[in-house]
Subunit: 445 residues, 2 copies
């Protein structure tokens, strides 16, 4: 399959020349000597596919390397490596599949595509005997997929908790540090370039959910796609929630949580019917937790495994140069594999764990309730919790003019138990409103 | 070279069955099914070499697998993989070299050996066409060598700052949180099992220096050995230093610092005569720096690179199970390579950077000086700094009975400039004593 003579350069096609692609092209040129030394052969730019030939670029490019015919580029016989940094489902999927069919090794940063249709791509890579690497798809520059796949390959990962979306972390951090509301903090993020004009993918948790699916697949050697991920965004998080978290010594973060839940066996996690739960939602975590100190638009991924214990990986989760760094790391990897005539570890889905419905996910809850300020209210509310099997850890009561607020923090319970409790509370005479329900993570049940 | 039929188990010899070795053996057994699925073939224990056959072990082992003949074990024809967790220079070196000569792939956790004589081992691995992996040698369970070698292979690393010794971090953290002196904090660390009865290797910085050499070699694609590392331990750190750091909003940590210093070229770091500086010493860092929040015996490695920016890797730096997790991750890696008939990336020393003498290392300094409390003292002291080209950022003066203390924080200067300044200060009439000199890291010059 090696179509290039032993010392000839490896030729790379870059699909997309936007925020990430332009930096990939720049690094390929600036680091050419180092890349050649590390790979064992020079890497040469074969072409760059874009949508508009005349758009301004953040990198100087000879006009004859630019093309709008991406499909033609990946079908060329002299292309050994393909970097896909267009984004979205199509034409990215077709381009990757075509590149693999034509014998190229592929590097992609495309979380949306990997999370939606990863298995199709993995099968194509397997069939072609080529690599498909995608470190940049999760948490930008932070090496997290390779550590999960390789460094922890001898261990059993039990939980991954990530702050994997910089926009929402910036917004929540701003709300925490300034007392601002969601809308105000989002506007500031937009002014500073941390949020897009249409922030839906970020603030509604779609971006984080795609990354959660990718993390869970690798951590648990199973196939998890975006549709398996329970997803809640941060648009409903209020300044009052943040203040309430602060009173508890907590901070609110949008978390991507992937957990291995022991089956009916001996509870050590290797039982056949263990399952995984994957969810993205805002949650309170203690300020002493390593994830709590992740400020502004930084990302971090916290990993728990049986032997290694608690690990954390921290760094910039986005931006042109950081993301290009991750892409180039992958590119050196797949290029080395071509030089040695081998493939890296492909998809590993042997464990084939079932994905639990959200109702079965267990965690702790912080529930704020406006109630009438009269005798017996606390007992009534406590009974509602206990009837649904939700045990209460603490209750704080604050009197206000004619009503009162109860803040309940529960022990571990399932989402279904909590949902039933909240419905029950809403039907109670003494309850005026359940003003906020938020999960509490990073503490023992 | 494959002596085993395609589906036969790969056979592993474990050398040493102490803190780490016993956990390696346990994980090999507990995770056997997962390991087989991830490697593509079962991994089977061929034998375990120890010094004393009758010593109590933290793992159950059939007597016929134990041997005191380590050399015989690694020379056996049915051994594909060798894990070296004995430690020290000999017999570990001879055993690894023999294993490679006999065609085995090797995993080691031996920082002392790797830092002292790595190149001999790398050359033997190269010659044998086999892998030598050693992730566990630096920062225990934290995946840091693989990210440096692979994930950042397309980037230019400019600085690595590590808290890579858990014992000293525990002692310094205890001094910071309780106000205890060094001796008292060390005693507590010993009582709790965080420090050995003979703590020399840890508190004098030998262990951290070995790890610094390994990190610098990988980060800068050059050969750096332990003897290239400037090393100062923490035995001279006083409660007063810690208090002084606190006043500046800093905390004292033992840091392993590996830096790339641009050469005479354009300063972008890729010039031919760029050099590296590698040093281990206690230093003040701002409490807002990500490394400052690394408490107790945890480790963390902070990496700066041109494109990725600032990354941090955090986790347990020692202990049986965490270290065994790193060993097993490597074992899966070398085993996969055997199954696919390939080798991982070997030593990469192509950049061949010179190592700078400590006198040329640049940083900032915190200098505390007892002086006579009389007019003109500050001017005299300031002149001493400026005569040696050390520019002062801040001076704080505290009057005491008949003398005064000056605390000077400098801008960036070389170690040689600082040493000359301190000698000059000591010769001044108005200076009673230079009570403390400590470097300040994690801030711009
Ligand atoms: N930006 C980040 O910080 C970041 C971080 C991690 C991962 N990623 C991922 O990286 C990928 C790229 O993101 P980005 O921010 O670089 O996007 P971008 O700035 O919007 O760039 C997209 C590029 O793709 C080109 N393109 C679009 N449709 C095309 C088509 N049909 N054929 C050929 N080229 C086409 C565009 O061409 P024109 O320039 O001519 O319009 C543009 O150059 C996405 O998968 C994203 O999720 C991005
Ligand atoms: N402990 C950690 O947390 C940690 C963390 C990172 C890296 N490491 C590294 O891991 C390695 C092992 O450390 P460890 O803490 O496990 O050491 P350890 O508890 O002292 O165990 C050493 C083992 O080696 C055996 N041994 C000693 N000399 C031998 C010889 N000549 N032939 C055969 N076996 C021999 C000993 O046998 P007996 O049991 O019969 O005495 C013992 O089982 C070292 O390189 C260390 O630097 C350790």
């Amino acid at each position: 399959m090696t179509r290039t003579p032993p010392d000839a350069p490896l030729r790379v096609a870059v699909l997309g020349c936007g925020v990430v692609g332009s930096q990939v092209v720049r690094l390929l040129r600036d680091q050419a000597g180092d890349l050649a030394a590390r790979v064992g052969r020079p890497i040469e730019l074969a072409g760059v596919a874009v949508r508009r030939l005349d758009a301004p670029r953040d990198v100087d490019l000879p006009a004859d390397l630019l093309t709008t015919d991406a499909l033609g580029l990946v079908s060329r016989d002299d292309v050994d490596l393909v970097v896909e940094v267009i984004g979205g489902i199509e034409p990215a999927r077709t381009l990757i599949l075509t590149a693999l069919e034509h014998g190229a090794s592929v590097v992609s940063a495309n979380k949306a595509l990997l999370a939606e249709d990863g298995p199709t791509l993995f099968e194509a890579a397997e069939k072609a005997g080529r690599d498909l690497y995608y470190e940049a798809a999760v948490a930008g520059a932070i090496p997290i997929l390779r550590p999960l796949r390789e460094s922890l390959a001898g261990d059993r990962v039990t939980r991954v908790i990530g702050i994997v979306n910089g926009t929402t972390n910036f917004v929540l951090d701003k709300m925490d540090s300034s007392g601002a509301g969601f809308a105000e903090a989002l506007e500031e993020a937009q002014d500073l370039g941390y949020a897009e004009a249409d922030p839906t993918a970020d603030v509604e948790g779609f971006d984080a959910a795609a990354k959660a699916a990718i993390l869970a697949s690798l951590a648990f050697h199973s196939r998890v796609t975006a549709s398996d991920v329970h997803r809640e965004g941060i648009t409903e998080v209020t300044a009052a929630d943040i203040a309430s978290a602060r009173e508890m010594g907590c901070v609110v973060k949008l978390l991507a949580i992937c957990e291995l839940r022991p089956g009916s066996g001996d509870g050590d996690g290797d039982d056949e019917d263990a399952a995984v739960a994957v969810r993205v939602h805002p949650a309170m975590i203690p300020r002493t937790h390593p994830l709590a100190s992740v400020r502004e638009a930084y990302n971090a991924v916290f990993v728990e495994s049986e032997a290694a214990g608690q690990l954390m990986f921290y760094g910039p989760g986005a931006g042109g140069p950081p993301t290009a760094s991750a892409v180039l790391g992958d590119l050196v990897g797949v290029a080395r594999n071509r030089v040695t005539g081998t493939r890296g570890a492909g998809e590993s889905a042997y464990a084939d764990r079932a994905v639990l419905p959200m109702g079965e996910a267990r965690t702790r809850y912080h529930v704020a309730i406006d109630v009438d300020d009269r005798a017996g209210v606390l007992a009534t509310v406590a009974t509602a919790f206990s009837e649904h099997g939700v045990s209460i850890q603490t209750v704080r009561q604050e009197g206000r003019d004619d009503d009162a607020q109860l803040v309940v923090v529960s022990h571990g319970a399932t989402d279904a138990q909590l949902a039933a409790t909240v419905e029950h509370l809403r039907g109670l005479d003494v309850v005026r409103e359940v003003t906020s329900v938020m999960r509490v993570e990073g503490v023992e049940e």
